[in-house]
Symmetry: C2
Subunit: 279 residues, 2 copies
């Protein structure tokens, strides 16, 4: 049983004329931002503001991370039509308790999908991540560097136009999936959709994000069973606390050969850099 | 008639022990992130994830920008209690059509308050910004530099802990209000709350934000009547298009003596930098 998906595409960038501090007029690329209204069995659910790189996977991941649908097998099709800026989701059996699940709203610190239906924190106790002794659920400093290098080499809208967040899924330093969106939550949801569609488990995976490690990013990662997150940015207190509670390893400020390990030292095989020579 | 506000305070930073690429253990500060559930006349409205720097103003600005309440005069009090992570809003006459106004959700690209009730774009046509000929509704390159310098000199959680967005309100290069939050929408909403509370008009003001110029940021600024926005970050296509439509001046990538003017050239008095000497 497979989900039928359209492959809707739309331009991801636009060129505009700007002026700079020298008074010069020049052209730059900026990323797209467009509205996508999601209908589930013809009922309007939400409007997402997105870059538009992978709208079908975004919708799948949104349904998953909002826990509106229990399994991808319940979804018959996702049909995206940019002409009408709409995504139509058809399910086999309807969504149980639709009203109840969409009633409570939490506006989070996330860029992008700032709304989590239901109680975001409620199910934290049920999450069990693989132990640090599992080889796939830990990483070495060399692997971390390899992962960062793979991100650096990735072609991206960010390189051309900036103003988007990237997110990637790794198995150790092997890049499995990379996606960008105007909001970092859209990006992680798209990855979640891809994992769901292909039946990919999270236990031996690593998430990379350019965005900050706020509570919701950590929770979303944990809900997908991913025990390690690497970010180019920093962290907030609640992201830190949730990760500690769950035994998740968090790395931030990670670029080139620099990083901070905030939590989950037990998942990390340090191969320390030699100290910098005195100047 | 004044609004009664508590002055709830809570720590904005926490110190945690981390490890770095040298294998060294050290202490760093990280910003707080806490839930604040807003009740309006005892009805639960939303849970905001916030730094907690100015929760009463945040709640006021949220009500304003979501257009749940028409005027600040309708609000009797905002009572924040961090013990129970709640903000209780009391109005004089209740909120008209509460259910209807809170029914539609748009999840935007914004960090932070990603939900806009009602049709975000619906009222754009009604917004009229002051013409570029108004001295307060335009700025010179020197003023822009002065503004950026004032931001640079501001003491901030960002400097100590990173991972927060700042937002400021200026009259030319005079800093009137500065606030930080874990989400950039919280920060702009807090400014909106401050303006509402003190009856400050936007027509001769300039918004500064560290965040990106997405559609919702531009719309929020325009709804407050502010004709110029300056950002340390970049822009998205919809932010650009909304600003063009409204005649708003947008400056991005603005730090030190660098910037890009995306739209609203007619509000800008360029004093171009001399070209860089050939190397």
């Amino acid at each position: 049983m497979t989900v039928r998906l359209t492959q809707a595409s739309a331009p991801l960038m636009q060129t505009i004329a700007v002026r700079d501090e020298f008074g010069a007029q020049r052209e730059i690329a900026i990323p797209a931002e467009r509205a996508l209204t999601v209908f589930v069995d013809k009922r309007e659910l939400v409007t997402l503001m997105t870059l538009g790189a992978a709208p079908e996977l975004l919708v799948l991941g949104y349904l998953r991370n909002q826990r509106l649908v229990d399994g991808v097998g319940q979804i018959e099709s996702v049909t995206v039509d940019w002409e009408v800026q709409a995504a139509a989701v058809a399910t086999y059996g309807g969504v149980e308790r639709f009203e109840e699940k969409t009633a409570k709203r939490v506006v989070t610190t996330g860029c992008g999908q700032g709304t989590v239906f239901g109680d975001m924190m409620a199910d934290l106790d049920r999450i069990v991540l693989p132990p640090p002794t599992e080889p796939g659920a830990r990483l070495s400093q060399a692997t971390l560097y390899g992962l960062l290098d793979a991100v650096r080499r990735q072609e991206s809208t960010y390189k051309s136009a900036g103003s988007v967040h990237g997110c990637a899924l790794f198995r150790q330093d092997e890049l499995l999936m990379f996606v960008e969106d105007v909001g970092r939550h859209n990006a992680i949801d798209t990855i979640a959709g891809w994992m769901w569609l292909h039946g990919v488990e999270g236990g031996d995976k690593i998430f990379y994000t350019t965005g900050r490690l706020t509570s919701e990013m950590v929770i979303k990662s944990a809900q997908m069973g991913v025990p390690v997150i690497v970010s180019r940015s920093g962290i907030t207190q609640m992201g830190y606390e949730v990760a500690r509670q769950l035994g998740l390893a968090l790395f931030g400020r990670a670029t080139n050969r620099h990083f901070i390990c905030y939590t989950g030292f037990e998942r990390f095989d340090a191969q320390p850099e030699p100290p910098r020579p005195a100047p």
